[in-house]
């Protein structure tokens, strides 16, 4: 007679299939993202709640390369059991990219309404500006438009004498 199966021998219930959402970038590439990770984006969250998310969601302003990284970001931030310190270190590495890519992240985060990525991106840029003189800022960020010398003189005067 076969022994009755003991409680410990019963296997754990099979994992529920995670609901995936498919996004399509501006250049036609598709990416899958877990629903829990997609909730990081308010735009996608609204779509999920209105049940529009079952089909492919086009994301027209964002290229495949950037979208892939954004998906990675959301997945990482939706992971359970990651402590603040290692998440912070991961974030720092995430934004250690060239300026073009960083601005793309910011634009993507703005379009998809991902507050964590938006704050991270904008604060990173702000940190890059900290301590720099106006000329250094212009050079670092390749800003071409400038004030006329008279305007600059006026603003400099205000900076020094008008207010704190």
């Amino acid at each position: 007679m076969s022994s009755p199966p003991s409680a410990s021998a019963s296997s754990s219930p099979p994992p529920c299939p995670k609901k995936m959402i498919t996004l399509r970038s501006s250049d036609g590439a598709t990416f899958e993202i877990e629903e829990t990770a997609a909730l990081q984006s308010k735009t996608l969250e609204n779509m999920i709640h209105e049940n529009c998310a079952s089909t492919l969601i086009p994301v027209p302003n964002i290229t495949g390369e950037v979208l892939a990284r954004v998906v990675e970001f959301c997945s990482k931030h939706a992971e359970a059991g990651v402590d603040d310190e290692s998440l912070g270190a991961w974030d720092e590495e995430f934004v250690a990219v060239d300026h073009t890519t960083l601005f793309d992240y910011i634009r993507a985060a703005n379009f998809l309404e991902i507050p964590t990525l938006l704050d991270l991106g904008c604060q990173t840029v702000a940190d890059m500006i900290k301590g720099k003189t106006p000329d250094e800022i212009k050079k670092t960020f390749k800003i071409t438009t400038a004030c006329t010398p008279e305007e600059e003189e006026e603003v400099r005067g205000e900076n020094q004498w008008a207010f704190e």
Partner: protein
């Protein structure tokens, strides 16, 4: 397209808001037109330095909610009238033409609708008429600060009462305000939540009673130094939402009054009853028993003795964060009782008789979350106590050890090993400290404020250790440290770039070379350098040319500085607000240049200027009487100065002190 300009405006605004420091925001403004516009559209708070810019600034910054005019000279009824006219008046303020960078057609009075907080502290030239105009114009104003306008009285209080939406009023040191004025405010501003009346000594129980009856939303009330009695406490007890109460120096209240408080104010969290001679442990017990959510209790210099019943009461206060019992006699069992309050973060035991090593060891064995500890004048403590404190309280950020003369370099070794979050350390008059100790201390990399006054045993070497590692230092006090010379200043200038406040008084080894090093400290804002005999005009010139932000300078007794130094000061030190030139050898011409050129100068001490004649003083005072607020002169001048000068100064709200 890697340009920052490619981002949309709202994203740029977000980035701009990530810039915390003022300097960065100013650099941002200078980058390009778009950035300047973003700054103009986003900036919400301005502290104006010069009245000539005021009108154009108000026109260009439409989102201002806070305006601080406390350091702006010449704020008077006339200035207010000009600000509130809808047409520009270029003849009054020549720079008032709106900036070429701002779009035309803006309503010049839009700022009045956006303003929520107005700071007019020390605006002594303003009268009740101008004040009323500005309060009425800014209909949505919620907070106004007129503290230290010592001439303000009931008419000005009536002007303030026109602000029906006011929630916060600060009237510290408005000496003329009486119960009548306070009554007007109480009736006119029913929504008040925060009221500060420190030093308004004409106010009494009647005014306080009316205030408590009419302004039931009060959360914060400061009646320090007022001659209020227990009756006021009865009225205050009825306030249902009061959270913070300050009664410093209210010598007419006693335990009976505190019983009223014990039974009322259910939401009370912070109470400051320091320097109240009439209260005792009994009264404090009734307050503690009635308020289990008490967070801060300050009874410094009010108690002669901390009874054990009182200390046992504290155990029931689960949220107690801070307690100050400076000046009281404490026993070892008292320390044991306090050690049960593990939530304590701040303890004040200055001048406490009976503070011993054993007691402190008991205290810190329980209160391991301590961050601030004041042991000023606890003469009997030694290195053993500091070891216990550093070992138990690893989160210590502020430690005051003034006059603890048995402390040696060993204590600094313990602090440098265990308390790495230390930010503030006061070692004034600790004769046992030496250079080796400072070397140990330099491991505390977060150190920002260090007081070493009256420590003759430290020298340039010790300070060099601190300067090389502690980069966050903002404030150093080296008053009467005879061992300090130019080399220490060299070390500070290269290592402590953030230094803002420095006291070098009586460090007579400092010479012009040291001053040159100081000139490299761009953030230096407050410098006291009394009696530096070896500094001449050359040194002062180097200092003035380099430290562009210098606002406060005390050079009393620097007798070897000649006019070349003062001319340089007059030319370079444009941000100077306060100066002490007493006993200096400045000439008539030098004084005139200093007082007239420094358009931000508001306080000057000019006693015993032996080379300046009466005519010299007259001329100098005439050049600055539109903006000077406080001046200290030799008493003998009182009868020699023309009445014209004295009366004009008085009418502009300037306070003259005769020495």
């Amino acid at each position: 397209m890697a340009s920052l300009e490619s981002l949309t405006e709202d994203l740029l605004v977000r980035i701009y808001k990530g810039l915390a420091s003022d300097g960065d925001r100013k650099s941002w403004r200078l980058v390009c037109r778009d950035f300047h516009r973003i700054d103009a559209l986003t900036r919400s708070s301005l502290r104006v330095l010069r009245v000539e810019f005021l009108r154009s600034l108000l026109a260009n910054y439409p989102r201002l909610d806070t305006l601080d005019l406390s350091v702006c000279p010449r704020i008077d009824d006339g200035a207010v009238a000009v600000l509130l006219t809808s047409r520009g008046s270029p003849w009054a303020f020549p720079r008032a033409a709106s900036s070429s960078l701002s779009p035309p057609g803006r309503d010049p009075l839009a700022w009045t609708r956006g303003l929520r907080k107005l700071v007019l502290s020390r605006s002594t030239g303003l009268g009740h008429h101008g004040l009323e105009q500005v309060i009425r114009a800014c209909a949505y104003l919620e907070s106004v600060d007129v503290s230290h306008c010592c001439g303000f009285g009931d008419r000005e209080a009536a002007a303030l009462s026109c602000g029906a939406r006011l929630r916060e009023v600060k009237m510290d040191k408005c000496l003329g305000v009486t119960d009548v004025g306070l009554a007007k405010i109480a009736v006119g501003c029913g929504r008040l939540e925060k009221v500060s009346l420190k030093w308004c000594m004409e106010i009494g129980d009647l005014g306080v009673d009316l205030l408590c009856n009419k302004c039931v939303d009060l959360k914060f009330l400061d009646l320090s130094y007022l001659k209020v009695t227990n009756d006021s406490l009865r009225s205050i007890g009825s306030l249902p939402k009061l959270e913070v109460l300050a009664l410093v120096g209210c010598s007419l209240i006693d335990d009976t009054g505190l019983q009223f408080l014990g039974g009322g104010c259910p939401l009370l969290r912070v109470i400051d009853m320091s320097r109240c001679n009439g209260i005792s442990s009994c009264g404090l017990i009734s307050v503690a028993k009635g308020h289990e959510d008490l967070v801060q209790l300050n009874a410094s210099y009010s108690l002669t003795e901390c009874s054990s019943i009182l200390l046992r009461c504290f155990k029931d206060l689960k949220n107690l964060n801070a307690i100050k019992i400076d000046g009281a006699r404490v026993s070892d069992s008292a320390f044991k009782a306090l050690s049960n309050c593990t939530s304590l973060v701040e303890i004040g035991l200055g001048k406490c008789i009976g503070a011993t090593n054993l007691g402190l060891m008991r205290l810190v064995s329980g209160c391991v979350n301590l961050r601030v500890l004041d042991l000023t004048c606890c003469h009997s403590i030694t290195d053993a106590a500091i070891f216990a404190i550093s070992d138990s309280c690893r989160n210590l950020t502020c430690l005051k050890l003034e006059s603890c003369n048995m402390i040696t370099e060993k204590s600094l070794y313990y602090l440098g090993s265990f308390c790495l979050l230390l930010e503030e350390l006061d070692l004034t008059d600790c004769g046992g400290i030496n250079d080796t100790g400072l070397e140990y201390l330099s491991n505390c990399l977060e150190l920002s404020c260090l007081k070493l006054a009256l420590c003759p045993t430290i020298s340039d070497k010790g300070l060099g250790h601190i300067a090389s590692k502690c980069r966050k230092i903002c404030e150093i006090d080296l008053y009467r440290c005879n061992g300090i010379g130019d080399d220490a200043l060299a070390a500070l200038s290269s290592g402590c770039k953030k230094l803002r406040r420095l006291n070098l008084s009586y460090c007579s080894d400092v010479t012009d070379r040291g001053m040159e090093y100081l000139g490299q400290l761009e953030e230096l804002w407050d410098l006291e350098m009394r009696s530096l005999f070896n500094v001449t005009g050359v040194g002062l010139m180097a200092l003035a040319a380099g430290c562009k932000r210098l606002a406060d300078l005390d050079m009393k007794y620097c007798e070897n500085v000649d006019d070349s130094g003062f001319w340089a000061l007059a030319y370079y030190a444009r941000n100077l607000r306060q100066i002490n030139l007493s006993h200096c050898n400045i000439s008539n011409m030098g004084l005139c240049m200093v007082m007239s050129n420094l358009t931000r100068l508001q306080e000057a001490k000019l006693v015993h200027l032996n080379k300046v004649t009466v005519e010299g003083f007259e001329l100098a005072l005439r050049t600055c009487w539109v903006r000077i607020k406080k001046v200290k002169l030799l008493a003998a001048l009182r009868f020699k100065l023309s009445s014209d000068v004295r009366e004009t100064l008085h009418s502009r709200g300037c306070k003259i002190r005769w020495d």
